[in-house]
Amino acid sequence: MADSGVTEGPDKKEEIDRAKSEGKELTKEEKQRLRKEKKQQKKNKEKKDDKASQESEKEKKPLSSPPPASQPPPQSTTQKAPSAVPAPAPVSVPASEAPVPADKPAKSKAELKAERRARQEAERASKQGKKGETGQQAATSKQKAPPNELQPVVKRLPEHIQVDNPDVLKKLAKKLERQQTPGQVADKQIPLRMDYGYKVSLFSHLHQYSRKAPLTQQVSIPSTVIHPAVVRLGLQYSQGIVTGSNARSVALLHAFKQVIRDYTTPPNEELSRDLVNKLKPYISFLNQCRPLSASMGNAIKYIKKEISNIPSQCKEEEAKSKLLNCIECYINEKIILAAKAIAKSAIEKISDGDVILIYGCSSLVNHILCEAFEKSRKFRVIVVDSRPRLEGREALRRLVQKGISCTYVLISAVSYVLPEVSKVFLGAHALLANGYVMSRVGTSQIALVAKAFNVPVLVCCETYKFCERVQTDSFVSNELDDPDDLIVTRKGKTHLKDWQEVPSLGLLNLVYDVTPPDFVDLVITDLGLGMIPCTSVPVVLRVKNVDQ
C-alpha cells in the first residue's frame, strides 16, 4: 500500500504499525483513522483516472466472490476439480471486460490493462512486505502468482478469510452498502459485525464473534432492508439455536420460501433478476451472523440458478409457485430421500453384535442407527463427546429414547474404548474435492486413533454437501466460535475470567477440522452410488456437474 501520501502525525502512525505488528485488534479510533486515510488516497487516485478504477472494481467483484460460487464451465468436464477452480476466473474476467471498453474510445484496452496491472503489482509488492511475519503461507503464495502467467488475472482469496487486512474489511463494508436495493436511504445499511477478543495469530484471518449479547442488541438491523424471517434465522444461527449442517440448510430454505411468498416484483423489473438481487443482502447478513456452511452455499447456488432460469414471460404467481415447488423438491430429494437411501446402504454394513462408535450429533448418523434398530439389528453404541459444545448429549438422548443401549465417553477416553469397537460412523459437514472430510473439530482425531487400532471408519454424507473446494489443513478456512465458551466455573471459581487482560493468553474455540482420506475407509452417499472410497469424491463432482 502506498502509504507515503499520508499527512498524519508520525507518532500516531507508529502506534498503528506497532499495534498491527503485535497482532492485537486496532481500537476503534485507529480503525476510523485508517479508513479516513484510505478514503483520501482513493479520492486522489479516482481523480486521476476515474473510469479505470471503476473497471478494476468491476473486475475485482466477480473474482472476490468465494470459490464455491463459481461453476466450472460445461465444456471443461475433462479437467480435474482442483484445476477447474482457477479456470472460471479467466472465463468471468473477459465477460466483464467486454462491455466496458465499448464506451471508452479514448484509451485503448491494452493501455488500460497495462496500467491496471502495474497498479496491482505495486499493491501486491507492498502487501507482501507487510504480511511477512504472519504465518499466512496460503495467502502470500496466492498473491505471489504473477498475472503474466497463463491466466490473465490471479484468483484472489475470498473476503471472509482476510479479516486481518483492513482494506478488505473496508471494501466489505462498502459492498454491503452497495447491496441496497435502489431508493434506499444511505445510512440504513446491513450491519458489519465487530470481532471480539484477541485472536490467535494463526487464525487471525478469520472472524471471531461473541455470543454474550444477542445480535440485535449489538447492531441495529433495519427491517425494511432485511426480511424478518431472515432476521430471525440470523439470530437463530448466531445464538446457536439452529445447529447442524442439515438443520441450517433446511431452515435457510424455509426462510427463503417465506421471502419468495412475500415478494412482489417492482414495476419495470424482471422477477428473475430482481429476486436474485434481493437475496444478496440477506445472504451477506446471514454470513455476518454465522459464516455459511458448504451445504448452505450449495443450496443458495441452486436457488439462484432456479430463479434466473425462470422465463421472462412467466406470470408472477406462477413463477412464485414454481420456485416454492423447486425448493420443496430440493429439500425432499437431497435431504430427506437421500437420508433414506443412505440408511439403506449403511444398514448392510451393520451386523449383529456390532459395537458402533459415533461422535457428536449428526442427524444422518442418528437416522441410520434408528433405522437399523428398527430393522432389528443387534448392536450397541458408544457416544463420544467433547467440550464446549457437548453435542453428544443430544445424540445420546435421541438414541436412548429409541431403546438402543449406549455408552457415553468424552473424547479423552477414546483410545481406552477403541479396542472393543468394531466400526466408527462419522457424519460430515462437507466433503472436499480432494477427498478430505470437513467435519466437527475432533473428528480427525477419532479417525486417526481408529486407524491406529485398525477399526474401519465410515463417513456418511449426502451428495449436496460435496463441494468444489480443496483444503489440506484446518487453518486456511475454518470458523472461530466465541472464546468465552471455553471458560468453565467450578465450585464458584472461574480461573479464566480475566483472560483478556493477560497479554500472552489466547483462547481458541475452533469449530471444524479436516480429515485426510487415508483415515477414512468408506463413504456412504446417495444418488445411487452407495459406497464409494473417499478418493472418488472428485469423480462424483465431475459426474454431477455434467448432469446439471
Binding site: 466400526k423 468408506l522 452410488l529
Partner: protein, 344 residues
C-alpha cells in the same frame, strides 16, 4: 404359474431351506409349474449346468467367468420368454444357478456385468424378437471383448518385468501365466518363486506350467513367504474379484503375501480382467459374504461354517501398488472411478 411367481417361490425356498443348493430348489419349483413352461424351464436348467461344465472341460485355460458368460449367451438364445422383464429375471436366476456350480466371485460379477452390458442399449423396439436379436449381438460383442482381455493385460504387464527379475507369485493364476509367457516370449530372463498354496496345492500346477516355458521356478511353502521376500524383486498375483475399494479377493494367503511385501517395500502387482470388477465393499475379512468364502459344494452340504476354512481372503487397497486390467494400468483408487463409469 408364470416365470416371475416361480422365481418368488424359488427365493422363498432358498431362504427357508439353506442346506439345499439352488439346483435342488429349481427342481422343486419345476414340479409345481404347468407342463408347457415346465418343459422349457427344466430343459434349460439342467442343460445350463451341463453346458457350463462342458465349456470348462473343453478349454481348461478359459476363465470360469468366460465359460459362465458363454453359457448365459446360449441360454439367452434358447430362451422362450415373452417379456423383457421375464428375460432379465430368468438370466439373473441362471446366473444364480451357475454360482451354485462354481461359487467364485468372478462368475457372479461376470454374469451381472453381462446383463448390464446387453441391456445398456435402447430396447425400444416393438418386436420382442428384434430386441432379443439386439441383446444377442451385444452379448457376442461382450464375449469377444472379454476374450481379448487376457492378451491386453499381458501386453501391459510384461514391460514391468525387467531382465534378471525374481518374481514371487501365489497359487495358480492363468492371467499371471499369460503375463509370464509374454515376458518369456520377449526374451527376458527371470526366475519365479511360487507358493504351494494349500489346501489344493495349486501352486505345483503353476510350477509345472512354468517349467514347460523353460522358466526357472521354485516352489516354496506358504509359511516361507517372509523368508523368501528379501530375494524377490516384485510380486505378481491374479485376482478372483476386484472390489469397489480397489482391493482384491483372491486365494487364501494373498493377504499375508501383501502384508509381507509392504513390510519389505516390494511392489505388489495385481493382474485381473475387467469383468472381475464386483460391486462389493468389504471393510475387513469378516465382511466378505459367506457365499464367496467357501466352495460351492461346501455351501450346499455344510451347515456350520465355523468348522470350515475359507478358501479366499480380502486384500485391502492400501497394500496394492498397481492393478493391470484391460482398461489400463490403474491405481487402487482409480478402480472405483472405473466402476462408477461402468455402473452409473
Amino acid at each position: 404359474m408364470n416365470i416371475s411367481s416361480s422365481h418368488r417361490y424359488f427365493r422363498q425356498h432358498q431362504k427357508t431351506a439353506r442346506c439345499w443348493g439352488e439346483g435342488t430348489c429349481c427342481v422343486i419349483i419345476v414340479r409345481h409349474v404347468n407342463t408347457q413352461t415346465e418343459a422349457a424351464f427344466r430343459m434349460n436348467e439342467e442343460e445350463l449346468v451341463e453346458y457350463f461344465r462342458d465349456q470348462m472341460r473343453k478349454d481348461p485355460d478359459m476363465a470360469s467367468a468366460v465359460a459362465a458368460i458363454r453359457t448365459l449367451l446360449e441360454f439367452l438364445k434358447r430362451d422362450k420368454g415373452e417379456t423383457i422383464l421375464g428375460l432379465r429375471e430368468s438370466l439373473t436366476s441362471a446366473t444364480t444357478c451357475l454360482t451354485g456350480v462354481d461359487s467364485s466371485v468372478a462368475v457372479s460379477s461376470g454374469g451381472e456385468l453381462f446383463l448390464r452390458f446387453i441391456s445398456l442399449t435402447s430396447l425400444e423396439h416393438q418386436d420382442l424378437s428384434r430386441c432379443k436379436k439386439v441383446m444377442e449381438e451385444r452379448g457376442e460383442l461382450f464375449l469377444e471383448k472379454i476374450s481379448m482381455s487376457r492378451a491386453k493385460v499381458a501386453k501391459l504387464c510384461h514391460t514391468f518385468i525387467k531382465d534378471g527379475a525374481k518374481i514371487l507369485t501365489h497359487s495358480y493364476s492363468r492371467v499371471v501365466l499369460r503375463v509370464l509367457e509374454k515376458a518369456a516370449g520377449e526374451k527376458k530372463r527371470f526366475s519365479v518363486y511360487v507358493t504351494e498354496s494349500q489346501p489344493d496345492a495349486a501352486g505345483r500346477q503353476m510350477a509345472e506350467a512354468l517349467r514347460k516355458l523353460n522358466v526357472p521356478v521354485t516352489v516354496v511353502l506358504d509359511a516361507a513367504v517372509g523368508y523368501v521376500l528379501e530375494k524377490v524383486d516384485l510380486v505378481i498375483v491374479g485376482a478372483e474379484g476386484v472390489v469397489e475399494s480397489g482391493g482384491i479377493i483372491n486365494k487364501i494367503g494373498t493377504y499375508q503375501l501383501a502384508l509381507c511385501s509392504k513390510a519389505h517395500n516390494k511392489p505388489f502387482y495385481v493382474v485381473a480382467e475387467s469383468f472381475k470388477f464386483v460391486r462389493l465393499y468389504p471393510l475387513n475379512q469378516q465382511d466378505v459374504p459367506d457365499k464367496f468364502k467357501y466352495k460351492a459344494d461346501t455351501l450346499k452340504t455344510v451347515e456350520n461354517f465355523s468348522e470350515e476354512h475359507p478358501v479366499i481372503d480380502y486384500t485391502p487397497p492400501s497394500l496394492i501398488t498397481l492393478l493391470f486390467t484391460d482398461l489400463g494400468v490403474l491405481t487402487p483408487s482409480a478402480v472405483s472411478d472405473e466402476l462408477i463409469k461402468l455402473y452409473l
